[in-house]
């Protein structure tokens, strides 16, 4: 009980929660990107992958519930810590110099909230497939395709091509993944700091790893809507 109290009530404990959940979410965004990049291997690859995920049944819901609690804890600790931080500095200086503090490090709560808003939209858009939010007038739930082994499944390839052909949807996507990159460019290095896994040797290595992977993520994710806007996938759908 004392351990739980220390974890949830102390400043350092909440940062551990922030760091561990951040690490889980980071692992998810890497996996999600690798999965999504299969769109460039053609309709068969991505549809087979999507069918595999959808056919995992209870496991899928277990992962979804775990993700929901991880996101919940991440946002809860962010809000609590930010409120405490604001209260600790009630009077500002006449000049905000932010000596030594990077832009990304100072705007984590802002980038985080835009990303959270995007995730909500993204789930309604492609997971729940609410017709009203996709701005194309088409109903994604009706898209069906037949895999080479004869299985009839949801046509995720078509959904991605149709979905990202809307400029506004693609623009929001690119903005969100850019902010995600900014968030992780600081967050990856910072989470190892919060979890106490840094020293004078590992600090520069982990910080560099964070910056590089943040660029990989933004390029990987943004390449999909940009390629589709430039015409990728139209041929395959015909």
């Amino acid at each position: 009980m004392k351990l739980l109290y220390r974890l949830f009530r102390s400043s350092l404990g909440r940062k551990y929660i922030m760091g561990v959940t951040g690490l889980c979410l980071f692992a998810f965004v890497v996996g999600h990107m690798v999965g999504n990049l299969q769109v460039f291997l053609g309709p068969e690859a991505i549809n087979r992958y999507a069918h595999f995920l959808q056919s995992t049944g209870e496991l899928l819901w277990l992962v979804r519930l775990a993700m929901l609690s991880i996101v919940g804890l991440h946002i809860w600790s962010a809000v609590v810590l930010t409120l405490e931080n604001r209260a600790a500095r009630p009077v500002r200086y006449t000049q905000d110099v932010f000596y030594g503090a990077s832009y990304a490090s100072r705007t984590m709560i802002g980038s985080g909230f835009v990303i959270a808003a995007f995730v909500l939209f993204h789930l309604l858009h492609y997971t729940v497939q609410v017709k009203g939010v996709n701005l194309t007038g088409q109903d994604f739930t009706t898209f069906e395709t037949t895999l080479k082994n004869g299985t009839v499944t949801h046509d995720v390839f078509k959904m991605m091509v149709v979905g990202f052909s809307n400029v506004w949807v693609s623009l929001f996507y690119v903005v969100a993944v850019s902010l995600l990159s900014l968030h992780l460019g600081h967050g990856i290095g910072a989470l190892f700091q919060s979890l106490g896994l840094k020293n004078d040797v590992w600090t520069p290595r982990l910080d560099r790893f964070g910056k590089v992977i943040a660029w990989v993520l933004v390029i990987g994710y943004a390449s999909i809507p940009i390629a589709i806007l430039l015409g990728y996938g139209k041929e395959a759908l015909k």
């Binding site: 220390r6 400043s11 810590l81 600790a88 500095r89 932010f98 490090s105 919060s194 106490g196």
Partner: protein, 248 residues
């Protein structure tokens, strides 16, 4: 050179403060920032006005008493220097300089540029010590300490407890100060016995005092006059995690 100073004036902790403008005339480039303020104060006293109150003691960068935010940066923003080591040659003739006290809820302003830093004393009282039995002087090298450990502990022990880290942090977090003290004592064999209890108590006291949380911006290490690195915070995070999992 001649300078314009915008200085925070506040009668006491309960009065509202405001900025007052002063002219500093014929400032010599070799003066320290505090010597320049001394000259301004002499003129104020001669004119029958209240001098500007500020903290200072050793004036050679080792005591941690001076505590001014100059143009938005604690200690003025020159690598590894306190305000008393900041020389007027870094400023230009005709420049306007803003001088403010440390700003943090746990550091209330007592008067003008002086803040109450007793919150730091309470953190030290909670665990910034080692318990030893008194007796005869121990032999010099009775407890072997490796060069690597003694160097690291010495780097941490360089902290003079001025509070610039808190003043610079956008969250008014005291992590760099507390982590320097924790690292200094937890690394050495003399401090190892109370390692877990020390970090748990010092962190609890830090939280109770109302300091903010670390968001790893690095402002603290950038302004630290003793250049305490951010790694100290990682070390404290590690020690605290080990301590609470051991049941502290």
């Amino acid at each position: 050179m001649n300078l314009t100073l915008k200085v925070w004036r506040q009668k006491d902790a309960n009065s509202p403060g405001r900025f007052e403008t002063y002219e500093a005339r014929d400032v010599i480039a070799d003066m320290s920032f505090l010597e320049m303020l001394d000259v301004v104060n002499e003129e104020l006293i001669a004119a029958g006005k209240e001098p500007i109150m500020f903290d200072s003691d050793c004036r050679e960068g080792i005591c941690g008493t001076c505590s001014l935010v100059i143009n938005g940066i604690p200690h003025g923003g020159h690598r590894g220097t306190t305000v008393c080591q900041l020389h007027m040659r870094h400023f230009q003739d005709g420049q306007t300089i803003t001088v403010e006290p440390w700003r943090a809820r746990p550091f209330p302003v007592i008067r003008d540029l002086i803040v109450d830093r007793k919150a730091f004393d309470r953190i030290i009282q909670a665990g910034g010590f080692i318990s030893v039995n008194t007796g005869g002087t121990p032999d010099g090298n009775a407890i072997p300490v490796s060069k690597q450990i003694s160097d690291k502990a010495m780097d941490a022990a360089a902290c003079i407890g001025c509070g610039a880290c808190v003043a610079a942090c956008k969250n008014a977090s005291a992590m760099l100060f507390v982590s320097a003290k924790v690292t200094h004592l937890n690394l050495l064999p003399q401090g190892k016995a109370e390692k877990d209890r020390r970090v748990a108590r010092m962190v609890s006291t830090m939280d109770e005092a109302g300091f903010g949380n670390c968001t790893v911006t690095g402002s603290c290490a950038a302004v630290c006059p003793k250049e305490i690195p951010l790694d100290m915070i990682a070390k404290m995070n590690r020690d605290y995690a080990l301590a609470i999992f051991k049941g502290e």
